[in-house]
């Protein structure tokens, strides 16, 4: 569960979010929609505690931004999968090693890493490209690889920040379908997007944000 209570955050140069009250339930799939600069990324950064609210508190699972210690943040992030518009894949290692990274961080045994990564690659349909480097993959494949990297650690929650921003409509649609399948298996998903046409009519909750304020939830 993600819970934002009366959350405000402002950047030095202006912008941010103000007075946000929001709850994402376990197993829920919710879209966060709003124009560029409306505060979607800020809200997600607050959710994975890359930013801390100036007012209010963010509670994700059992972690509360008001009293979490800096050294606990890495352990908190292990429970969350993150997907970004610009992928954040590492170009100096192949697809397999990119997906395996969170498992190395978490101290998994080598054999478990091989099993889990292979399974994730099969799930996203990229098992034949495990030795490819990110720059040898298409945008859609790179984004699916990001999904696999988020998924491989079996997170409670996936936060996706404009994951379809660099993809064509067909690939974007396929990616959302993939996220829906993951959600059915019990992972909560909060996905930010500015493309209303892509998300409308899918039967999921839509949270609208404008100028840093949640308009409709």
């Amino acid at each position: 569960m993600i819970q934002l209570d009366n959350v405000s955050y402002s950047y030095e140069k202006g912008g941010g979010v103000s007075n946000v009250n929001l709850t994402i339930q376990d197993d829920e799939f919710a879209f966060l929609i709003g124009p560029t600069g409306s505060g979607k990324t800020t809200l997600l950064r607050l959710a994975y505690m890359d930013l801390f609210p100036t007012v209010g508190s963010v509670i994700v699972s059992k972690y509360d931004s008001a009293n979490i210690k800096a050294k606990k943040i890495p352990y908190f992030r292990r429970k969350i999968g993150m997907i970004f518009q610009d992928y954040h894949l590492l170009n100096d290692r192949n697809l397999f090693d990119n997906i395996a990274l969170p498992l190395h961080v978490m101290g998994f045994h080598k054999d478990d890493i091989i099993d889990r990564v292979t399974e994730s690659l099969e799930e996203i349909g990229l098992e034949s490209k495990s030795n490819h480097y990110p720059n040898e993959l298409s945008g859609g494949e790179q984004q699916r690889a990001c999904v696999a990297r988020a998924l491989v650690k079996e997170p409670d929650i996936i936060l996706a920040d404009e994951p379809t921003g660099n993809l064509d409509p067909v690939t974007s649609f396929e990616l959302i379908k993939l996220l829906e399948e993951i959600n059915i298996e019990g992972t909560s998903i909060l996905m930010a997007s500015h493309n209303y046409n892509l998300i409308k009519g899918r039967g999921h909750r839509i949270i609208e944000i404008q100028n840093g304020t949640v308009r409709k939830s």
Binding site: P74, Y75, R78, L101, H104, M106, K153
Partner: protein, 289 residues
Amino acid sequence: MDKMIFLLSEGLKNLWRHKLTAFTAVFSIFLTLTVAGSLIIVSDNTGKIIQYLRDKYKIEVFFKQNVSNERIEEIVKEFKSIRGIRSTTIITKNDAKKIFKSQFGENVLDIVGFNPLPASCVINLVKRQKDKLNIRPIIDRLRKFSEVDEVNYQGRLINRIETTYQTFLKISIMLLIIILIVSVLIISNTVRLTIYAKKELIKSFQLVGATRAFIKTPFILEGIFHGLIGALCSSVLLFIILKFGSNFILSVAGLKIDYSFFKLFLILSSLGVVISFFGSNRAISKFLK
């Protein structure tokens, strides 16, 4: 265990991934350690020279005419307990007579009718001492014996040699410290360039839940590998220079300079690892603040 293997392999792979930085860092360490190694070799061999000179230091104590051989033996036993004295040799009146004959070819008894040569004791001083060998307190204690007539020693020369050696040691240590501090700063700045180039990697590590220690370890290991490679290069260079240069120095200055490669590598790799560890740790810690 698997985590350690992963971190170790990351550190090794980073050497190849950051080739240019690795080259710069290894080259800086190589230069630093070559200078530091030269300084260590020179200091060590200067230590050998000072030991050789100290071996030549000699104090001659002359006893009064009426002191018996038995009493002299007792007094010399007491001399041995004085700090700074390594060995003593008693020269009895009879020995002195023999020495006179061997040096001048004549019996002193035939010249003056009796033996005027006093009994004496030759004192050698300690060789292996890092701090300054202060001869003045030894002389003062020797002179306190009422049976002692005269004490001869090369006071001014010994003092000058000892003072020069101590000054040399102090300058060497200061230079070594300065070199080490400067190299830590150079390594730190070189590694910082890698870190800035690897911002994405660090961000990714943070986002997937890596702890500070997990992020830091590959960079520090990479730094340690730089240190070891730099140390190996400078040890090889210094060893080659020593191998070919020592014969030249022996022929010109009559001084044999030798050094074991293993000892040299051990000292330089320890220094290299310490420099790299502090340099890379400083850089990555600053970045992660």
